[in-house]
């Protein structure tokens, strides 16, 4: 047991009693909310540790546990995906669900927990959804073609620091899907824009720039993601601070690719841009 520390700066002594409204759904079934009470949640616990406690309580009661996705629990793998009180990853900006801590909630509070809600992310069970549409977008063009062993000496390509930093800013995306879940259109433009920005501004990414852009956008559209109408919810809920300008740049690169494609003699058919 945790004993209260005499050191007043630690908040380990405080615990919360919570009511939780959690989305339950079996694969292939209809979903519904169920309510649970959970007592003695230390405020130092993470949100997912609180969910672990709830699951242990369910096991003791002989009930099925709540399935949810999680892995690294340090905010980098992008696996955790809960909509908490209507907000993907909860109320604190710039953190993933696994990095959200219970000191941000009040004693006696009712917390509503739902899965990502988006047409392109069907629910697998309870809070776990299928995000393989993101992988398909990357498979269509989110790469630079380079054979293992065929790379030139690394320092042969000079990359100005501002360009490298900008690519790195975009590459911070962890592919969690909060952007899609927060968007009323279920748009994946922030995710796709981040990857396009990362690769399209680097010198190594130039040879495939147009092909990449057209193929990724087409796959994104085919996967059932909606369009961007500039609401900006994605930026507000991105745990990694990816900003809307990646979408502006995606639109610019897409236009550029379409124009080039239109005027190119070998155009559409070969590049699959239509």
């Amino acid at each position: 047991m945790v004993k209260p520390s005499e050191q007043s700066s630690h908040d380990s002594e405080r615990t919360l009693a919570l009511r939780l409204r959690v989305w339950r759904q079996l694969r292939g079934g209809e979903g519904h909310f169920e309510e649970y009470s959970l007592a003695a949640v230390p405020v130092s616990a993470s949100f997912l540790e609180m969910m672990d406690m709830l699951n242990e309580q369910l096991i003791r009661e002989g009930k099925d546990t709540i399935a949810f996705d999680h892995d690294c629990r340090e905010g980098i793998c992008g696996m955790c995906s809960m909509t908490i009180n209507g907000m993907p990853h909860g109320p604190i900006p710039g953190v993933t669900t696994c990095q959200l801590h219970m000191r941000n909630f009040r004693d006696g509070e009712t917390i509503t927990v739902e899965p990502w809600r988006a047409r392109a992310f069907p629910v697998l069970k309870d809070l776990a959804v299928n995000r393989s549409a993101f992988d398909k977008v990357i498979q269509a063009g989110g790469f630079i073609t380079v054979r293992t062993g065929s790379a030139p000496e690394a320092n042969n390509t000079l990359i100005p620091k501002p360009i490298a930093d900008e690519a790195m800013d975009a590459a911070e995306c962890i592919g969690c899907g909060a952007c899609v879940a927060s968007c009323k259109n279920g748009s994946a433009m922030l995710f796709v824009g981040a990857k396009i920005n990362h690769l399209n501004i680097l010198p190594q990414g130039q040879p495939e720039r147009e092909r990449r852009t057209l193929a990724m956008v087409k796959t994104m559209d085919d996967a059932g993601f909606g369009n961007c109408t500039n609401y900006g919810e994605c930026q507000a809920h991105c745990p990694k601070g990816i900003t809307l300008d990646v979408i502006a740049k995606l639109n610019r690169d897409y236009l550029r690719a379409r124009v080039k494609d239109f005027f190119s003699s070998t155009g559409k058919a070969r590049k699959g841009g239509e």
Binding site: G141, G149, H198
Partner: protein, 642 residues
């Protein structure tokens, strides 16, 4: 058990090139007729699957996560070493080799480590070409930093997210192959067993975590890149899903498991806050460049806020014990020193389980010297992360840190070709034991994962396939496959129907406590013997009282956990046995009986070998074998950081 390391003849520097020149090839038109199974999609797995598919083989890749991009390689922060010598500071392949051998406390194979240092330079070329956004200088060249006490700056990095960026590079290469149809990717699939046909690895059995389907897959060769076993300790910096099942199941089918007692403890993690904690968070070691580590001299002061403890009542124990390295003493040494002062009752922070397990990492002197803004610039993101987790502001009061399990150097035994003692079973990355000896240097895990995946396995797997011929792939209708599928189905059915009363997590916690106490930072004979008895009793209890809720045809996290904990329990016994029988101290393995003036005392006469364990049947203790380590190039010396 036959352990032939197959180290090529000739001078150390020429071994790999000579070996490559002699290895057999498969003609391009024949390659698509071979099927390769790769399990795991971290740096080693993604790189191997992408490279082999690009060569023309048919590849199937499996991972338990929902996307290959989420493998735990992604969490590495610090960087990746390579002997590029871009900083003109005297680095070379030989120096990286020597540092790695010494860092591993002379318990790794010379030839493997030399090859690792050799291919390290190609890794950087490969990653840059893929678009990995490494840090750069204003002139546009790649930047480097010194890491983990190295005397040269050979570490390449991408902010604090080097692992993520390298994994996204490997994932993009893998995705290109999936898009091209040359790799079939199976996400949310967990390997639950290995299938042998006539003594050769010819397939695996998996469970589809979404539908529950248990299925056999046949191949010409199986490559395991399934990571380490740090989660045997329950609390570690590993991801929640990291487990030993794939490698342990292979072990049960005859693969030797080497040096399971070698685990690395990282000194700068956020301390445990309570019983319900599921995960420990690492903070970059770079914090030790400006933070001073201390505890109160007097245990009566431990409950007071740090600000009320005057300077003269503080014990800066690293500076006191290791005046030349001070707060930058190597990971294992710093960790043990922190444990010692906490065991003396001088730890700080919350009382968990009757103890205060934490030491201060104090930035007040650095803030006074350099100003808060300079510290914010260097470590702002880490201070934010610390505040987010603990609710404490480290600019105003010292951080609290404590060591945590971070990496495991042991793994399945492999020869120079990364092939286990089971023909056709290859092992890459943290899952094998090959390159880090008894202690891993900072920024070397990423290097090894990518070296194995991009630059070693594609050659050695090809050589193996050339030898098995084109009729190698059996049908999954063979009795060998059906028998293993049946075993897996029976085990799954048993878990779901055992009418027990204890959750898998509660067993995992208890297991973790036993091995952390008795087989963690320090070990001794009596403790290890007691741990083995306790673990055997816990294992027996598990197989009576485990309770698994959920259904077999849905996502069933409790079922997954129960299977993993079952293997961790058996593995924990083997780990303690390995620690008990290695009667010396080396690297991350510190036996209190074997020390000299408080430092690890190796016994090179008796223990300059890898210990390799053979499975001897359910409930029996495994059998110890050895592979002698012979050093032709390096002189064995004592590590000293005083």
């Amino acid at each position: 058990m036959k352990l032939d390391a197959k180290i090529p003849a000739g001078p150390l520097a020429d071994k790999w090139n000579n070996h490559k020149a002699k290895m057999r090839l498969v003609t391009p038109t024949n390659r698509r007729r071979y099927h390769i199974i790769v399990v795991g999609s971290g740096l080693a797995g993604s790189a191997a699957a992408a490279s082999l598919a690009e060569m023309g083989y048919e590849v199937s890749c499996f991972c338990y996560q929902d996307s290959p991009r989420r493998a735990h390689s992604i969490a590495a922060q610090g960087g990746i070493n390579a002997a590029k010598n871009y900083q003109n500071d005297g680095d070379s392949v030989r120096r990286l080799f020597l540092d790695t051998i010494k860092g591993g406390d002379y318990r790794a194979r010379e030839a493997n480590v030399y090859r690792l240092a050799q291919v390290s330079t190609s890794i950087i070329d490969q990653c840059v070409a893929q678009g990995v956004p490494f840090a750069r200088e204003y002139g546009g060249l790649l930047a480097n930093r010194s890491f983990g006490g190295a005397q040269v700056s050979r570490t390449f990095y991408a902010r604090g997210q080097t692992g993520q960026q390298l994994l996204l590079g490997a994932y993009s290469a893998l995705s290109r192959q999936i898009g091209a149809g040359t790799v079939k990717m199976y996400t949310r699939h967990e390997m639950l067993d290995l299938v042998l046909v006539e003594g050769q690895a010819k397939g695996i059995v998996t469970r589809d975590l979404v539908t529950g389907e248990i299925k056999a897959w046949a191949s010409d060769v199986v490559v395991l890149c399934t990571g380490g076993y740090g989660n045997v300790f329950y609390l570690s910096t590993n991801a929640q899903g990291c487990n030993v099942t794939a490698t342990f199941r292979a072990h049960r089918r005859g693969a030797g498991f080497a040096n399971p007692c070698y685990s690395q403890i990282h000194p700068t993690c956020i301390p445990v806050h309570g019983e319900d904690q599921a995960k420990l968070t690492l903070m970059s070691e770079s914090l030790r460049n400006d933070g001073r580590v201390w505890v109160p001299k007097n245990s009566a002061d431990c409950a007071k806020p740090a600000s009320e403890i005057p300077e003269e009542a503080r014990d800066y124990f690293l500076e006191r014990k290791y005046p030349s390295y001070g707060n930058l003493a190597p990971r294992d040494i710093s960790s043990r020193a922190a444990k010692e002062v906490c065991d003396e009752g001088r730890g700080v922070g919350q009382v968990v389980d009757g103890k205060r397990l934490g030491v201060y990492l104090d930035f007040s002197a650095a803030i006074k010297r350099l100003g808060e803004s300079a510290i914010r610039e260097r470590y702002g993101n880490l201070f934010d992360m610390y505040e987010n987790i603990t609710g404490e502001n480290a600019y105003r009061q010292p951080m609290r840190i404590f060591p945590a399990v971070h990496y495991t150097m042991g793994g399945l035994w492999v020869d120079y070709n990364l092939q286990s003692n089971i023909p056709g079973l290859f092992v890459g990355g943290e899952a094998n034991f090959s390159d880090h000896g008894s202690n891993r240097l900072g920024a070397s895990a990423l290097m090894q994962g990518l070296a194995d995946g991009y630059f070693v396995l594609p050659y050695t797997v090809t050589d193996y396939l050339a030898g098995v011929g084109l009729s190698g792939r059996p049908s999954v209708d063979r009795p060998e496959f059906k028998a293993v599928v049946k075993e897996v189905e029976e085990r799954t059915h048993w878990f779901l129907n055992n009418n027990g009363n204890r959750s898998a997590r509660s067993y995992h916690k208890e297991l973790g406590k036993i091995v952390w106490e008795k087989c963690g930072m320090t070990r001794d004979k009596a403790g290890l013997e007691g741990a083995i008895r306790d673990l055997q009793a816990l294992r027996d209890d598990f197989w009576k009282n485990i309770k698994v809720v959920g259904a077999g045809n849905q996502l069933a996290p409790e079922l997954e956990r129960a299977g993993r904990v079952a293997d961790f329990l058996d593995f924990g016994i083997m780990m303690c046995l390995d620690a008990l029988t290695r009667e010396e101290s080396c690297g991350g393995h510190f036996r209190t009986e074997y020390q000299e003036a408080g430092e690890a005392k190796r016994n090179d006469d008796t223990f300059a070998h890898a210990a390799v364990w053979e499975f001897k049947g359910e409930g029996n203790l495994p059998k110890r074998h050895t592979e002698p380590l012979t050093y032709e190039e390096v002189q064995l010396t004592t590590r000293s950081y005083k």
